[in-house]
């Protein structure tokens, strides 16, 4: 099905036509992606969003929201919290899943299908069903209202996607590499660390970036497992702007702009390295 779609929308056959097509696609995706962002950005400078709605430029630049976000609301503390918990959770979860994904992708054993099915099933578990058991678990472990507890929960959440990504990457690596390493006398562990991990780096890195991006804005578990507001993650700042009177859009949108900057910067910065690492072409068939 996917193949047919490509045929329809991919008419180029020569290099030049190909480039033109590529630029058209890039232009379209940029417009799609920028549409909401530009709206948020422009609107964050409007003193009263509802008075001047839509895609108009603000009649007067209003920096109030930004000033408050940086001076009164102590946004840096939320950034630090989000960074610590998202990074900790990602590291734990990716380490754990790289190991199991490797086994599932490269070894034959009984129960493999069952484990895969189990991991996939996690995607469909409604969060409201997880709430109470997880809340109890964390409380019993004495980790309630601690970052460690939250990191633990983050490490366990979203395992299906990371698992799929990493397993698929391991699956594409030629078997010969592994066999050669084994013949050279590497132990299983050495083969994994020295041969497979470096080759699978792109897949693992991709999974890590995806996981981290998800966790940066995570709020459901944070608000559930944390009482102390000084340990809250970034989205906690957004609730500052909604009171029983209504919503302060100027402050809210300024905060949204500020909160998306770190992940975008980090992604831009990190992806430079990992794309470069990839271009070396680790898999020499």
């Amino acid at each position: 099905m996917a193949k047919e779609k490509i045929k329809e929308s991919n008419p180029m056959s020569v290099q030049k036509g190909e480039a033109v097509f590529c630029y058209i696609v890039m232009a379209i995706i940029c417009i799609i992606a920028l549409f909401p962002i530009i709206w948020v950005f422009i609107s964050s400078f409007k003193a009263d969003l509802l008075a001047e709605p839509g895609f108009t430029l603000p009649s007067k630049l209003c920096f109030d929201g930004y000033i408050r976000v940086f001076t009164k609301l102590g946004i840096s503390k939320y950034f630090v919290n989000s960074f610590i918990t998202a990074t900790g959770g990602t590291l734990l979860s990716i380490t754990m899943l790289s190991m199991s994904a490797y086994i599932i992708a490269r070894f034959k054993f009984k129960g493999k299908g069952l484990i895969t099915a189990c991991f996939m099933a996690t995607m469909f578990v409604p969060s409201s069903a997880l709430t109470f058991p997880v809340y109890n678990l964390i409380k019993n472990m004495g980790l309630f209202d601690t970052r460690v507890g939250l990191i633990f929960v983050y490490a366990c959440s979203g395992i299906a996607v990371s698992f799929m990504v990493i397993r698929n990457y391991f699956a594409t690596i030629p078997v010969e590499l592994e066999e050669a390493a084994r013949i050279d006398g590497c132990t299983y562990f050495q083969t994994f660390v020295k041969i497979m991990l470096p080759i699978a780096r792109p897949g693992i890195f991709t999974a890590a970036v995806l996981a981290w991006l998800n966790l940066w804005n995570e709020f459901y578990w944070a608000s559930l497992l944390m009482i102390d507001r000084s340990k809250m993650t970034v989205p906690a700042i957004l609730s500052q702007f909604t009171t029983s009177f209504g919503t302060d859009y100027n402050g809210l949108l300024s905060a949204v702009v500020v909160t998306i900057i770190p992940p975008v910067l980090l992604f831009t910065f990190a992806s430079k390295y990992f794309i470069e690492a990839l271009s070396g072409g680790a898999v020499k068939g």
């Binding site: 509802l50 299908g113 069952l114």
Partner: protein, 440 residues
């Protein structure tokens, strides 16, 4: 292909395996209970030789965002300071979502020491499982009936009062007198019936503005009208008889017809969406609470409070201060004293003047208090409160009486009716069968 089939089979075996695990699950549930029984020990943990009474509330906003939150925190802190040396330390804890904190505890058969639900309903489960204290004996013994005001009657569940909200969710409407005058429409104080209101709305539309905010706003009309037609029904849990009653049908169809004329562009499930339109003079009437008095920024001269047709108003308490049933005597004593403090004339005056909310204490003379200050918000608030407090029909809200799911279903149906050409009778029939299933 074959492999995939095998993994599918395995997946199904997994599911089957879990089903057969039913027997095991019975043992799992007590495990959750253990957690509950262990928790109190941890709560009784004292700092030094003092016990701690934790009080959870959600006034977390920075002062720059919502000054009211800072006032409330100050009120709490003063109480804490006054009891710093007592046998029990009062510790206010700011949380993001009080209801969530309480719900999680309740699911484990527990309740936090003390919470302020701030208008959210006290979860039924807490009451049914007797996790919270009946405050009525204390109120009676201390003679606080007039201090807690309508909490005493509206929160009465089979002769018990489990919660006292220090401020009331009082709802009427706000209207822009200039727009009414320009359209030659009868103002809300002249609406004897819903027909009067419909006529006024038509005149307003003809003059180029729109009548009111529907959706959450018009549900309030339905709420009030329903109470006018059948006060008993609005004060008790919803029954199939009420759903099929004449009153229900009349109230819904009247409001839905007005909503449709008003247009679906003016229907949402959040009345707050229309604040800007109202202050800018695009919308003539804003169905919203008295607390909105503080949001008119200098336009107070044009804007007047009103109540619903047939002299109807809504004054709900919602959930407020609620105390756990498993406190020590000393803790409980302090918790009750806090209740007395929060409903005292002194604190209630601050709630009126600084928080700009309708206080529950009925001993205060709001008009007189407003006289004493030079603040247009407070004057407007006083006006709105006394109007609503003197309405012929004062009812609790649908959410409190009939449940949040019923409330949402009614709003959604009204919103759907506002789309041009929608068959209101058909929507009513849908709503009736939905509600009957929901309460089943």
């Amino acid at each position: 292909m074959k492999k995939k089939l095998i993994s599918m089979v395995l997946a199904l075996t997994l599911v089957a395996g879990m089903l057969t695990g039913c027997g095991g699950a019975k043992e799992e549930t007590p495990a959750a209970d253990n957690a509950a029984t262990e928790a109190p020990a941890e709560e009784a943990e004292a700092t030094g030789d003092q016990e701690v009474l934790k009080f959870y509330h959600a006034y977390f906003h920075e002062e720059s965002e919502w000054p009211v939150a800072a006032v409330m925190r100050d009120i709490y802190q003063q109480f804490a300071d006054a009891h710093a040396d007592g046998p029990v330390v009062f510790e206010p804890v700011v949380v993001e979502d009080v209801l969530q904190v309480a719900t999680n505890e309740i699911a484990g058969g527990e309740f936090p020491d003390m919470v302020d639900f701030a208008g959210n309903e006290v979860p039924l489960a807490a009451i049914v499982q007797e996790l919270v204290v009946d405050l009525k004996p204390y109120i009676d013994a201390e003679g606080l009936q007039s201090k807690v005001g309508i909490n005493y009657t509206m929160n009465d569940v089979d002769g018990k009062v489990y919660t006292v909200h220090d401020q009331l969710t009082t709802l009427g409407l706000w209207y822009n007198a200039d727009l009414y005058e320009a359209a030659g429409a009868a103002t809300p104080d002249q609406w004897a019936t819903y027909e009067d209101m419909a006529t006024a709305m038509e005149a307003l539309r003809a003059s180029g503005v729109y009548g009111y905010n529907a959706g959450q706003g018009s549900e309030r009309l339905f709420n009030s009208y329903m109470a006018v037609l059948d006060a008993e029904a609005m004060a008790n849990p919803l029954t199939p008889e009420v759903i099929n009653s004449e009153a229900f049908v009349t109230a819904f169809k009247t409001v839905a017809a007005m909503d449709q004329a008003n247009g679906s562009a003016h229907s949402t499930n959040n009345a707050g969406d229309f604040g800007a339109d109202f202050t800018e003079g695009k919308c003539a009437t804003w169905m919203n609470g008295v607390w909105a008095a503080g949001s008119f920024n200098g336009l107070e001269a044009n804007i007047l409070p009103g109540i619903y047709p047939c002299s109807g108003a809504i004054a709900a308490t919602g959930g407020g201060l609620t105390i756990s049933a498993s406190l020590s005597d000393a803790q409980k004593e302090l918790a009750l004293e806090f209740l007395k403090y929060m409903t005292s004339d002194e604190v209630q005056t601050r709630i009126f003047l600084e928080v700009n909310a309708n206080p529950c204490n009925q001993d205060l003379d709001l008009e007189a208090l407003a006289e004493g200050v030079d603040n247009p918000t407070v004057k407007l608030l006083a006006q709105a409160c006394s109007l609503a407090n003197s309405a012929d029909s004062i009812t609790t809200n649908t959410g409190s009486a009939w449940g949040a799911d019923v409330y949402t279903a009614i709003i959604n149906k009204l919103i759907e009716c506002s789309v041009e050409g929608t068959d209101i009778d058909a929507k009513l029939a849908e709503l009736q069968s939905e509600l009957i299933a929901l309460i089943g």
